[in-house]
C-alpha cells in the first residue's frame, strides 16, 4: 500500500485517495460504514486531478 501511495504521489495524486480495509464477509454493517466514511472522505477531497483533466474540455463545451 505504501508503495502504491508513493507511486500516486509521483503523478500528483493525493495518496489519501487510496485506502485498504480488511474485514470478513460477515461484517456487512462495518462494510457499509467504511463505504460511507470513504465516500465522505473522497467528497471532501474533491474530484481527482485525472478526472478534472480528462473531463474539463467537455465541461467547458457544456458551459
Amino acid at each position: 500500500m505504501e508503495h502504491v501511495k508513493s507511486l500516486l504521489t509521483k503523478v500528483g495524486i493525493d495518496p489519501e485517495r487510496l485506502e485498504m480495509f480488511n474485514l470478513s464477509a460477515a461484517m456487512g454493517p462495518r462494510w457499509a460504514e467504511m463505504c460511507n466514511e470513504f465516500t465522505e472522505k473522497i467528497r471532501r477531497l474533491g474530484p481527482s486531478p485525472i478526472w478534472m483533466a480528462t473531463c474539463s474540455p467537455k465541461k467547458n463545451i457544456k458551459e
Binding site: K10, V11, I50, T54
Partner: protein, 223 residues
C-alpha cells in the same frame, strides 16, 4: 544478475512527453528480479505515464509489453514488427538491452527507463549486493573467494588499508572491509600464508571496454 533501479519519474516523463505513441518495453529476466523493469513494472510505469499525460493534457498513446530477454535478439525479434509501429520505445531493460534493441530496431529511438547499476547477488529477497566487478582477470583463488576489486572501496590488491575500522570500511559503516573478510576467510581455510604474498599489479586492459569474445567450440561447429 544485472541490477538496476528505475529513473526518477520526472526524468522519464521529460523523455517521453514530446512523443505521440510510446511503448514501455519490459525485460522479464534480471531487472524483473530487482523489481525495476519486468513486465509488471513496465505495466505500472505505463499506467503512471498515462495518468501524467492526462493531467498535462498531452495526447500520447502509451502501451506496455515485455519479453523474456532484451540481451538476445531471438527474444524480441518475434515482436519487432509490432514495436516498430511506435514513435518511442521506453525500455525498462538494462543498458545492454537498450543498446541491442537500438541496433536492431531501425530509426526508432530507444530510451532507458532504468539506471543500470552492477551485477550482483541476491542474499535476501529485495536486497542486492555487488560481489564481482567483471574485471576480466579473476584473482578469487588468491583472496579466499572474496573479491577485493568489487568489495574494497579502493579495489586494493594488497590490503587492508589504514581506513579499516573494526571490520568496516572508513567509507561507510555499512560496508564491510573486504580485506578483513579475506583475512578471516583465509584463517578458516588455513591459508594465512597467502596474505603475506604481494599481489602484483593487475592487467587492467582486460577490464576496459569495448569487450567481446566468441565461444571457440561454437565457432568451429559453424564452420
Amino acid at each position: 544478475m544485472i541490477t538496476g533501479e528505475q529513473k526518477p519519474f520526472e526524468e522519464i516523463w521529460n523523455m517521453v512527453k514530446d512523443f505521440k505513441k510510446v511503448l514501455v518495453f519490459g525485460c522479464n529476466t534480471c531487472v524483473a528480479i530487482c523489481h525495476a523493469g519486468g513486465g509488471k513494472e513496465a505495466e505500472i510505469l505505463a499506467s503512471l505515464l498515462r495518468m501524467r499525460a492526462a493531467e498535462e493534457g498531452a495526447a500520447i498513446e502509451i502501451n506496455h509489453a515485455a519479453v523474456e530477454r532484451h540481451c538476445e535478439p531471438e527474444f524480441f525479434q518475434p515482436v519487432m514488427e509490432n514495436i516498430r509501429t511506435y514513435d518511442l520505445i521506453l525500455s525498462t531493460a538494462c543498458g545492454v538491452g537498450v543498446n541491442l534493441l537500438s541496433e536492431n530496431i531501425g530509426d526508432i529511438p530507444v530510451f532507458p527507463a532504468i539506471n543500470t547499476e552492477f551485477f550482483g547477488a541476491v542474499p535476501r529477497a529485495g536486497e542486492f549486493t555487488e560481489l564481482c566487478a567483471g574485471c576480466g582477470n579473476c584473482i578469487l583463488h588468491l583472496t579466499g573467494g572474496i573479491c577485493p576489486i568489487a568489495r574494497c572501496s579502493k579495489s586494493l590488491l594488497n590490503g587492508p588499508c589504514g581506513g579499516t575500522n573494526n571490520g568496516n570500511c572508513e567509507v561507510s559503516p555499512d560496508i564491510k572491509c573486504a580485506w578483513v573478510l579475506i583475512y578471516d576467510r583465509m584463517k578458516k581455510l588455513n591459508k594465512l600464508d597467502l596474505m603475506k604474498e604481494i599481489n602484483e599489479a593487475k592487467d587492467w586492459s582486460k577490464a576496459q571496454g569495448p569487450r567481446n569474445f566468441k565461444v571457440k567450440v561454437l565457432e568451429e561447429i559453424k564452420k
